[in-house]
């Protein structure tokens, strides 16, 4: 049995190293979803097989907030979907690992995302196909909170309950920060729980960095038969690196040498300069 707390720490280190190797990336957004993906991939929730990544019976995972893809890359590499050596090539000219994930290039990536508001309805389509085919697979989609400003999210949010897609689970990475500022300073999501409930979703709120809360939520799926489930995961953008946490400027910014030392120290990476 994998120690999920330790695994999450390892994933954070790998994310940081991968983005440093690549010379840039969405670090803070990637750190925000570490526990969510760790529990999904290592906690016997998402049933996928690295040896047969296109098994028709597999569960599907879609990262609708595609800019956080390094977390997914690190986990897929660690799980054996592709060789770990690829991580060091992130963002370079001949890599399979770009700044947003490409389903034609990266084994285990189910959907090419990057433009916000696309992956979620794409995942709804996969869940609908599962229902139409009477298959038992489940679909999980992680979306950003800022992404919920896109109208297409709400079109799909209306569609999924109408079709009773209880094989679908959306997880909102609720870190409350978007590219330029705190969401509430730009266009507030308001009563986000009530909004999704009003659209017909069964909603559960958890701490998105608490492994046991996430496990317990995932084990209760579906929250209600005949309804899609939504987990609002309360998270911290930049989680694990003190100066990035809660700070909007770190959406796409690289640290200097001094900050690098602090980050490595906090993440437990041996800093050799």
């Amino acid at each position: 049995m994998v120690n999920l707390e330790e695994k999450a720490k390892e994933i954070r280190r790998l994310i940081f190293q991968t983005i440093c190797d690549g010379g840039g990336g969405h670090i803070a957004a990637s750190l925000s979803i570490v526990e969510i993906l760790t529990v999904l991939y290592y906690g016997n929730i998402l049933m996928v097989n690295p040896g047969n990544p296109t098994d028709p019976e597999r569960d599907r995972f879609v990262l609708s907030k595609g800019h956080a893809c390094v977390t997914l890359y690190v986990i897929l590499a660690d799980k054996g979907f592709f060789n770990k050596e690829h991580l060091a090539t992130f963002g370079s000219s001949n890599t399979i690992l770009g700044g947003h994930p490409d389903m034609h290039k990266v084994p285990g990536v189910e959907a090419t995302t990057g433009a916000l508001g696309h992956g979620f309805p794409f995942g709804v389509g996969m869940a609908l196909a599962g229902k139409l085919d009477k298959k038992n697979y489940k679909v999980f989609v992680v979306l950003g909170d800022g992404e919920c400003q896109e109208g297409s999210i709400w079109e799909a949010a209306m569609f999924a309950p109408h079709h009773k897609l209880d094989n679908l689970t959306a997880i909102i990475d609720y870190n409350k920060i978007q590219a330029m500022d705190h969401i509430d300073n730009i266009v507030s999501l308001g009563e986000i729980v009530d909004k999704w409930k009003a659209f017909g979703w069964e909603v559960m709120e958890v701490c998105g960095h608490d492994i046991s809360q996430l496990q317990s939520a995932f084990k209760k799926l579906p929250f209600s038969t005949g309804k899609p489930s939504l987990i609002i995961a309360d998270t911290i953008k930049g989680k694990g690196v003190s100066f990035m946490e809660h700070s909007p400027i770190w959406h796409y910014r690289m640290h200097n040498d001094e900050e690098m030392k602090i980050a490595c120290d906090e993440l437990g990476i041996d800093y050799s300069g």
Partner: protein, 315 residues
């Protein structure tokens, strides 16, 4: 064209259980038979085109063959990024069926006139574009769409457009059809306006001008050879389309001619030149108001023919 499409779709759905009809609250009555026969394979998304396209891509990722359908402007324009990223970029087997090509929705006004859709769809990698001239081609293209494993845009007029083809013919994806041979001028057209072009060309024949008429039913991949051959042999080309002259059939022809160094003496694109469609009324009236009637084609051909004679004298 629409009815030919739906009856072909019905036949396809009858034999292939992966085929789904997806609509965005459009298709009352015409889809009735399909809905009765295959209720589990008919999904109405309501008025949410972008959602329909993304979900269609997700369905295709799981082996379904969705034929998405609504008015062309809403489908290709509202959902453009969904078509680009979710369908074309991921090479999903989704069919985009837009109805109301050109001015077909005449009196409904310019919000419903689809005159930029070819340009938009043409720039998308992996996309195949079909633009049928009549019911027969519409039927053939529906079957061809199902055979292609990947994105297809099918640009349909709506109601009863007159037949261009009197007899059946061997349809081939990407291969234009010479509807009439001629040596003085070539008219290259696409879509429902082929009927007007055919009438114009026949009238010009009576007047002693030999006009070749080429139907480009597949706009992408386009038949380069038929266009280059026309340039070489007739030296004067007019393109006709119910579309903006930028980026559509005329734009495609211009690109091909220049890049292949076979520019004709004279070249003219008929269509909308940097304007939205004007006027209301019937479909026929719309074509008149917007310079795309049979008489407009006749006049443009005469004009280019006169210029050609002058140019040739000068050589």
């Amino acid at each position: 064209m629409r009815n030919a499409y739906i009856s072909a779709l019905y036949e396809l759905a009858d034999t292939n259980k992966q085929i789904y009809a997806l609509v965005s609250d459009n298709g009352a009555i015409v889809y009735d038979k399909y809905r009765e026969s295959f209720p589990e394979r008919f999904i109405n998304f309501g008025i949410a085109e972008a959602n329909m396209i993304s979900i269609a891509a997700g369905l295709a990722a799981c082996g379904k063959i969705p034929f998405t359908y609504t008015i062309s402007t809403f489908l290709t324009m509202r959902a453009f990024e969904q078509i680009r990223n979710d369908v074309c970029m991921q090479k999903m087997n989704v069919k985009i069926v837009g109805i109301g090509a050109g001015f077909v929705y005449s009196n409904l006004g310019p919000t419903h006139h689809s005159v930029e859709d070819i340009a938009l769809m043409r720039v998308l990698p992996n996309m195949v574009i079909f633009s049928p001239a009549d019911q027969l081609e519409s039927r053939k293209m529906t079957f061809a769409s199902a055979k292609i494993e990947g994105p297809v845009y099918l640009r349909l007029a709506t109601g009863g457009t007159p037949d261009v083809y009197k007899d059946d013919y061997d349809f081939e994806v990407g291969r234009g059809v010479t509807l009439k041979e001629g040596s003085d001028v070539t008219v290259i057209g696409t879509g429902g306006i082929m009927y007007d072009a055919l009438q114009a060309v026949e009238e010009l024949g009576v007047q002693g001008i030999s006009v070749r008429l080429v139907n480009i039913h597949t706009i992408k991949p386009i038949d380069k050879e038929i266009i280059l051959k026309a340039a070489y042999e007739t030296q004067a080309i007019i393109t006709v389309e119910e579309h903006s002259i930028a980026g559509g059939l005329g734009g495609s022809a211009a690109e091909i001619l220049l890049e292949n160094n076979k520019t004709p003496l004279l070249f003219k694109r008929m269509g909308l030149d940097n304007v939205f469609p004007s006027g209301y009324g019937t479909y026929g009236e719309m074509k008149e108001i917007n310079g795309l009637s049979k008489d407009d084609i006749v006049n443009q051909v005469k004009n280019i023919y006169q210029r050609k004679k002058i140019e040739l004298k000068g050589l």
